[in-house]
Every structure is written in C-alpha cells, then in structure tokens.
Amino acid sequence: MSQLPAVVIDGILYASWMFIIAVGLTLIYGVMKILNVAHGSLYALGAYTAATFAGYWLGHGYPAFGSYGVLLIAALVVGLIAGPVIERGLLRFMYGREEIVLVLVTYALFLILEDFTKLLFGVDPILVGAPYALLGNLEMGSLIYPVYSLVLVVVSILVGVALALVLSGTRHGKMLRAVIHDREMSMAVGINVSRVYLVTFTAGAMLAALGGAITAPTTSVQPGIGAEVIVLAFAIVVVGGLGSLGGAALGALIVGLVRSAAVHYQPEVELFSVYVVMALVLIVRPKGLFAAPEARKI
C-alpha cells in the first residue's frame, strides 16, 4: 500500500515520456491519415543524433548546461531535414493511394532508416548520461527521483499546451484542423493542403526526434530502440482517438499508470499490460477515447 505514491509518480513519468513520442504520430495521422511506422525510426535518429552531438559537446569541455540546448538542436536538425525529405521525396507521390498502402510505404521507410541509422552510427550503443545526471535528484522521503525525469513531465505538458494553442489559436492551426475534419472541403475553400501536409509532417518528425533527443541521456541508445517505441506509440494514439491531442495525453496517462501498477504489484503481467489496456479501451470505446463523431458517408 505504501507503494501507491511511487506507482502514481512512476506512472506519470512514463506517461509524459510516451506522450512526447506519441503526440507527433497522432498529429500526422490526424492531418494526413497516415499511420507513420517510420515514426520510430525518426525517434531513433533523434536519439542517436542528440547523443552524438551531446557527446561531442561535453567531450570538448563546453559548459555542461549547454548540452540541453544541444539536444534540442539535434531534434530540430533531424526534424527539419528528415521531415521535408521524406514528405516531398516520397510520401507526396503516394497521397492518392489507400491508407493501408501508405502504412506499407512508411514500413518500408522504417526498414530503410533502420539500416541507415546503423550505417551512420554503428552498432555499439551510445551512452551519454551527463545531461541526465547533471540536474541531480529530488528526494521525497524514501523516494528518490532524478530531477531530469520530473523536468520531462514539465516539457511534455508544455509541448501539449503549445500544440493545443497552435491548433486552436493560430491561423495555421485552424487550417490544420480544417484539413483534419475534411480534406476535400479544405481544398475547396482554398487551403493549400499540400503545404499543410509538408508542415505537419515536418512538425511530426521534429516531435519524434525531440522524443528521442530527450530520451537519449536517460538510456543507452542502441539499435532497435525505434521498433520498441512504435507499438507503444500506436497503442496510445489508438487508445486516445486518432488525431486527438487530449486523447493522446489521456491514453498515455492510462497506459503509464496501468503499467506502473503492474510493475509494482504484479511484475509478470507488465508485458501484456499495454495491450490489455488497448483492447479494453477499444472494446468499450471502439474509436478510441476522444474520437470525433463522424457522419456516415453513403
């Protein structure tokens, strides 16, 4: 029973991590109706790039606090390069096709990027823990948590709020929401859907890379981390309702808390916990938690 505070905190920490990764995926799906399997590869690229940049920065003796900026720059670099290259160079030619074909295209892309990352960064894991350890720990009684993880929670909240504001407040955000609701009508009204797609995909790529960059100091960046997060991200996005920001947040929170409870009370079921949650949510709410009501088209 005394484990309850730990369960809740661990759940929130895990949820915030998952939210940052999942939010880009739900954005891309919402706008472009593409379930981007390569999202995991962008995450991995972001992690590798951030670890490499940060390692270089710290190795050359620059001020340690600058490494945080370096992480963010790495995410931006990966997103700004990979996003347009993939969208303009590949996806653009596939837009008319069925949804499932696009999933396949992103799956092929995932395979390509896995080896590309391996060629670029090698097979040895990259360990750059300094930014993580730098902020020290917060001790709450017998519980000790690294400040970095708590900062991550703040970051994820900021990302969520910022995105929500952009989507509801800015003109561009409203155009995005229009495209999410009805692509054809948006085109009819004069919105440059093609540009919206480019911007959205790039933003999604940056968010994926950001997820990777932020995670890099907490773990060992090794081959296969991309594949690990893909299914988790999918689960959260589907649970939350595709294209819904709030849904992704709530989905991440539910998954995080359930998983944390499993780890503390019944560790052997941890492996299933995500999928059981996904199945249960889908059974109760077939289109996810915050699915927008859709008119049936005859």
């Binding site: 920490l13 360990l127 690294p146 060992s220 594949a227 690990e228 780890v263 560790p267």
Partner: protein, 451 residues
C-alpha cells in the same frame, strides 16, 4: 493474359533451372570453408555479435598465417587454409533454419560455427543433425540443447548458463553470507527467465531462509526502467540479481545509480563483463560481476590468452576481447584440435608398420583428402583442448558439451577504469550438472558435484 503467363512460366523455369544447376556444379575447393553465424544487427550486435565476428576473423587470419602459439601452430587446419563465410543471425529462428540450410547447401561450407541466441541454437541443432553437418555452437547459454536431446553432429564448446547462475549464488554467499532478502531484474525472455529461475533455485537450496522480495521482468529492449527501479528501491533488498546485458544493462545502470539503488543493495551482474569498460562512473564498486566463464579479466595468463588479446586488439581498435570473443576462440581452436587429431589418427592408420601394399596410395589419400566429418566427430568427443580461457573438456552431453569452471569477482574503479578484484574460481563439477542430469533436477537436489 497468355503472353504474360508465358513470361511468368519462363521466369519460373529459369529460377528452377538455377536451383538445379547449383547441384550439378559441385566442385572441389581447396580451403576449408567455415560458416560463421553471429549477430550483425540489432541490440546483440554491439556487445556480442560484432566482437565475436572480429575475433573469428582475427583468429582465422592468424591461423592461416601459422602465428598461433602451440599446439595450434599449424597453418589453418592441418595445413589447409581456412575461409570464413559470415552471416547475420538476425531474423529469428525460422529465418535462421532456412539460412542454415542455405549455408550448408548453397555456400557449401565444411563446418558451421555460430549462434548466440538460445532459440537459434535449439532450432538449428536438429537441422544440423538432419543435414549431417558438423556444427559448433559457440555462445548460446540454454542447457536445453543437450539436456533434451542427443546429437552426433552438434557440439558446444562452452559450458551452459546454469554455471553462471549457480556460481553467482556461491560467490554471493561467500562474500555476503548474511543475505536475508534478494530481488531480481531480468529481461522477460528465455535467457532472463532461466537465469533468474536457476539463481533463485540455487539460493533456495544454499540459503533457504533468504526470501525473494520482487522479480522484475521488463521487456527485452525496454530501455526505460524507472518504475522497476522504484519497485526495487521500495523492496529494500539486500541483493539484486540481474542478467541484463548490452544497451539494456547500460540504461539500467544509468538510471539506477543516481537514484542510489545500490546504496543498500548488492548488485550481482551475471553477464556484466562485455560492457564493463563503457560503464566507468556508472558501476558502483563492489558489484559482483561474471563473464560467463573464465574469460576476459578472469582468463588465466597463458601464451594463448596473450595471443588472443594481441590479435583482437589489432582488429578492434585497441579494445580488449570480451567473453563472446573468447567463446569464438574456444570454438575455432576446439574444431582445429579435433580436426588435427583426426587427421593424425588417419595418417597413422594409413602407414601401418610392416605392411607395404598400398601405403603410398593410402598416405596420399590421407594427406590430400583430410579427415571426414565422422572422423572429426570421433576425435572431438571427450576431447580436452587448450583455449585462451583455460582448458576446455568436452565431458558432458555424451562428449559433445564442454565443461569448464568459472569465476566471479567484484568491481573496483582504479584510475578511471573498471577493474575486477577478489576473483574466486569454481571448478566445473561444482557449477554444472553431471552427465545425464537436468540442470533443474541437479539444483533442486542440492548441486552435489558429479563425476
């Protein structure tokens, strides 16, 4: 439709012809071709797969140049040069079975050495038997290979994972005899599960009043252990057992050390050796660590050990060889020893004293053809041979499974490098079940040293 179908039919016919012609073109080739299967991609590549490959390449190179120390000074195997065919162990057991068949039939290898994953070992062994191709399993840990079946064509030149778990328990109780509670964090797949099960079974026999607090089983490759670490901290265990390896181990250390998990808990790392050099600063002093055998820092000083270190460092940018590299060495040297013993036996048999009829022909045949698979197998069974890790004895599994002792030590940071001190060694019969007994039964019945 008809035209296209014709093209398709021609294409299929061509494909079939290619397959058929492969059989027809069987040729005699001079060098001995050895297929080597190891992880070149995925999380196992960095800590295990690639070091094993580098070691294999370095060893083959050195053997071909005749530069290995005695008794391996002959070039290649018995004077015949070696050729390595390396393939990636990735893709899962189903893929590997298919690749094994391709390796044997299309790449026409004489021997197969390989397999780090226990699943692949278990899947490939029956196929090796079916195809009658001498296969040396060099690194996988599962005891099941020779406990569940007998093989003629399959050998394993390293002891299995039961040894690691039992020795860990023995060492732990020697340095911390007052253990009251212990926990575990292991990856949720066969290796992690077996490691924990064997360790806790051994502990329940050696120290029955010690209690298990929690057994964490995170997903393989999870990388994020926040909740698990919280649970471990909350469990306030005296000892934490872990068979984590590679990137997962690094992530776990990175996340747990700052949270002072090991302030009051003793960490036991069963497979900690391969990445020890990378974890300086993230490895608390006094961590019990093993190398799955007397490899690396646990290897006894010998000309063979120095040789391996020298040729490996030259290939690996100055890094010392880790245990997969030593496992690879044992496999190649064992195969070489068996081959040369068989060849010697064949030569002696072809020159019987006092008989002159057909001596010249027999000798020529023996010199040129080399020993057959069956002859090498006969030589390999129950063979004892020297390796950089010490002596390996093929005493178990009806002569097909190696037995050797192991060692454990504790870490100590010296001049920014992680070193291992307080090394204690355990002979084979204290840490491995005797012939004919399963690991589970042996541990449960008290781990009595067998013959």
């Amino acid at each position: 439709m008809g035209h296209r179908l014709f093209v398709l039919a021609c294409g299929l016919a061509l494909a079939l012809l290619t397959m058929l012609s492969d059989v027809v073109q069987a040729e005699e080739h001079k060098p001995i071709r050895i297929g080597f299967v190891t992880f070149l991609s995925g999380p196992a590549a960095g800590p295990f797969g690639v070091p094993a490959k580098l070691a294999a390449e370095a060893i083959v190179q050195s053997l071909n140049a005749g530069k290995a120390p005695p008794p391996y000074a002959n070039k290649g195997f018995g004077g015949t040069p070696l050729e390595l065919v390396v393939i990636d162990e990735a893709g899962g057991a189903t893929k590997q079975v298919t690749e094994y068949r391709n390796l044997v039939e299309r790449s026409d290898v004489d021997f197969v050495v390989g397999y780090i994953s226990s699943g692949d070992c278990l899947a490939v062994a029956p196929v090796a038997e079916e195809m009658k191709k001498l296969t040396v399993l060099f690194d996988c840990g599962t005891p099941r290979v020779f406990e569940e079946a007998s093989y003629k064509y399959v050998f394993r030149t390293r002891p299995h994972a039961t040894m690691d778990a039992v020795a860990a328990a023995l060492y732990l109780l020697e340095v911390r005899p007052d253990v009251k509670t212990y926990a575990g964090i292991n990856q949720n797949y066969a290796w992690g599960q077996d490691s924990w099960n064997d360790f806790s079974a051994a502990m329940s026999v050696l120290k029955p009043d010690a209690k298990v607090t929690t057994s964490q089983m995170p997903k393989f490759g999870a990388g994020q252990y926040g909740a698990e670490i919280s649970a471990l901290i909350g469990s306030r265990s005296d000892v934490i057992h872990s068979s984590l390896w590679g990137g997962d181990l690094e992530a776990f250390m990175l996340q747990s050390v700052p949270r002072a998990l090991f302030k009051d808990s003793q960490l036991v790392l069963v497979a900690g050796e391969p990445y020890l050099h990378r974890l300086a600063g993230n490895m608390p002093d006094g961590t019990i660590v093993g190398a799955r055998g007397t490899h690396g820092v646990f290897a006894p000083d010998s000309p063979l050990n120095s040789w391996l270190k020298e040729i490996y460092k030259a290939k690996a940018d100055g890094l010392n060889p880790n245990y997969p590299a030593y496992s690879a060495a044992a496999a190649f040297l064992g195969l070489k020893a068996a081959y040369e013993k068989a060849r010697l036996a064949k030569l002696s048999a072809s020159t019987p004293m006092g008989s002159n009829k057909g001596v010249k022909e027999e000798m020529e045949k023996a010199y040129q053809v080399g020993p057959s698979q069956e002859e090498i197998i006969a030589a390999f069974e129950r063979l004892s041979f020297d390796t950089p890790s010490g002596q390996m004895n093929m005493n178990l599994g009806k002569g097909h499974q190696a037995a050797a002792g192991t060692a454990y030590g504790v870490t100590k940071l010296v001049n920014g490098q992680v070193t291992v001190v307080n090394i204690r060694r355990y002979p084979a019969d204290r840490v491995q079940p005797p012939e004919g007994m399963s690991s589970a039964d042996w541990i449960k019945s008290g781990m009595k040293p067998g013959k």
